[in-house]
């Protein structure tokens, strides 16, 4: 009988001890804000394009952080972003959930064909970055440095004068390509003109 009692006693006291430790930890280390969402938000490209089905990058980050949406919805971010989010959240990589098959992984910018622009200002209102300059009845132009290529301005344009084109590669933005890999001879043969 004393054995039973001592067993009960020791279990109860252990329960009390660990329980209070847990309770203390729960109070002490409580987190009120959601740092995960901030971290996820930092990984997103901030194009605010809405292609993920959320109105902006921050809401999508919150949805991902709260496990309400998959990590593969960010089309401008591409696979790199999915990998980064998978690493951050300890999830498995899943391929990009692209609705469009022609998703290209190069930075894009909007370009307004200025002689066709009628100056309706609709694109200006559509631009989440305030990256389009212009006034009513004046043709508009895109500030390339600010444009994220989200293509939200394309649809509202009544005369379809906005194109989303790949960002032009310059000497400063150009980077060496990755070599082709094992089994391939490096380099490329280039026909040369103007040989003496």
């Amino acid at each position: 009988m004393t054995d039973d009692l001592s067993a009960v006693f020791s279990l109860v006291s252990m329960a009390v001890l660990f329980g209070s430790a847990l309770g203390y930890a729960a109070v002490k280390f409580a987190t009120d804000d959601d740092p995960i969402a901030d971290q996820v938000d930092a990984l997103l490209p901030q194009t605010q394009c809405g292609q993920c089905g959320h109105p902006g990058c921050r809401p999508y980050a919150e949805a991902v952080a709260n496990d309400e949406d998959e990590i593969n919805k960010c089309i401008p971010g591409g696979e790199d972003t999915i990998h980064a989010m998978a690493d951050l959240l300890g999830k498995d990589f899943i391929p990009l959930d692209a609705e469009e098959s022609d998703v290209v992984d190069v930075p894009m910018v909007a370009y307004i064909r200025e002689d066709e622009c009628i100056g309706c200002t609709k694109c200006i209102q559509a631009c989440p970055m305030d990256a389009i300059l212009g006034a009513a009845k004046q043709m508009h132009t895109v500030i390339v440095d600010e444009c994220t290529g989200c293509d939200l301005c394309v649809e509202p344009c009544p005369v379809d004068c906005i194109d989303i084109i790949p960002e032009k590669v310059t000497h400063t933005t150009w980077a060496w390509p990755q070599p082709d890999g094992v089994g391939i001879t490096p380099g490329q043969l280039i026909p040369v003109r103007n040989i003496a």
Partner: protein, 350 residues
């Protein structure tokens, strides 16, 4: 006309991976020759047969993986794996031993990990260990070297062929097999010194009859590799030195229970392991400091397993265990980069 647009540098040293593999195979020739002289044609037959199996297995897996077949076979790494495995197994082992070992080495230990350069473990040693733990009997029955007292000449070519491929009653050869010197030592040392001293395989030699010659031959081949700058001296020297010192220490303490250091250094697969197995660049450490640590730890493990472990020889186990540690050694022996106060260690925390 066209010119080539290619990244710098434009000149290269004329040494290729294919040549590296080829030279390592050349380096095994002295050892192979001595093995053949002492134990008959079995080893040579195994080398040739094993190479064929290895190439076939490699081609098959490459085909399944949709990789260029000829390109990879030409590098000679599959043949090298087969040669090393064939040198390690007994010369009279039946053909299916070779097949199982090589298939496992090529298919699982090498290609499933991604092929040449991506395998964490030495494929030949993986094959060898698989055979050793699965078929202990076949893997430990060596015929005695034909230098041993009272032993007839080694099997002839046709006898070897029959032993390997024929369906001979294996009990026939059981009569002529004998435990290896290390095995003998393990069995009797410390317990039955009379038996140990009378064991014919140990008579009149410094590391088991014939075995010292085998090891010296591999040493010669290894020196060739060092001279050709295919391998550096760090791993073999560190490994042999640590084995020698450790064996010497215990021999001084208790010469009856522990073999003398020369016996350890020239016995079993020490030299083959030191120059040909442990130096496999894919699975070893690469920095000089790392190589020294890697080699020394292999020597240590070999001695520990030989002296107190369950198996008579331990080169394969020691090398595999250190293969496992190689990345860690690597990460903690990074050289100090120019312009940095101290060397990095460990990997980036992401």
């Amino acid at each position: 006309m066209s010119v080539l647009h290619v990244t710098s540098p434009h000149v290269r040293k004329p040494m290729t991976t294919n040549a590296v593999m080829r030279h390592v195979i050349y380096g095994t020739i002295p050892g192979l020759a001595v093995l053949t002289l002492l134990f008959g044609w079995g080893t040579l037959i195994n080398v040739v047969f094993g190479s064929l199996v290895a190439v076939a297995a490699e081609a098959l897996v490459l085909r399944l993986r949709n990789r260029p077949i000829l390109f990879s076979i030409k590098d000679g790494s599959a043949i090298l794996t087969a040669v090393l495995l064939a040198l390690a197994i007994p010369p009279t082992s039946p053909w299916w031993i070779t097949v199982v070992g090589i298939l496992f080495a090529i298919v699982i230990a090498k290609q499933l990990y991604g092929g040449l350069g991506s395998n964490p473990f030495n494929p030949a040693m993986i094959g060898y260990v698989l055979l050793l733990i699965s078929f202990p009997l076949e893997m430990t029955t060596w015929i005695p070297a034909n230098l041993t007292e009272g032993v007839a000449a080694s099997p002839s070519f046709s006898q070897s062929l029959a032993l390997i491929f024929g369906s001979v009653d294996r009990t026939v050869i059981d009569g002529i097999t004998m435990a290896t010197p290390l095995d003998t030592f393990k069995t009797y040392a410390g317990n039955d010194l009379d038996m140990l001293r009378s064991a014919s395989v140990l008579q009149g030699s410094i590391a088991g009859v014939g075995w010292e010659w085998v090891n010296i031959a591999f040493l010669v081949g290894g020196l060739y590799l060092v001279a050709r700058k295919i391998i550096t001296w760090h791993i073999p020297v560190a490994m042999v030195t640590s084995l020698f010192l450790l064996a010497g220490l215990f021999y001084i303490i208790d010469p009856d229970s522990y073999a003398d250091p020369i016996f350890h250094v020239l016995g079993g697969g020490t030299m083959l392991g030191a120059f040909f197995i442990a130096t496999d660049p894919v699975t070893a450490a690469t920095s000089n400091k790392g190589k020294l640590i890697y080699g020394a730890l292999i020597g240590l493990l070999i001695y520990v397993i030989r002296a107190w472990g369950g198996y008579p020889d331990a080169v394969a186990f020691a090398v595999l265990l250190l293969n496992l540690c190689a990345p860690t050694i690597e990460y903690y022996t990074q050289p100090r980069a120019y312009g940095h106060k101290k060397a990095n260690s460990g990997i980036a925390k992401s």
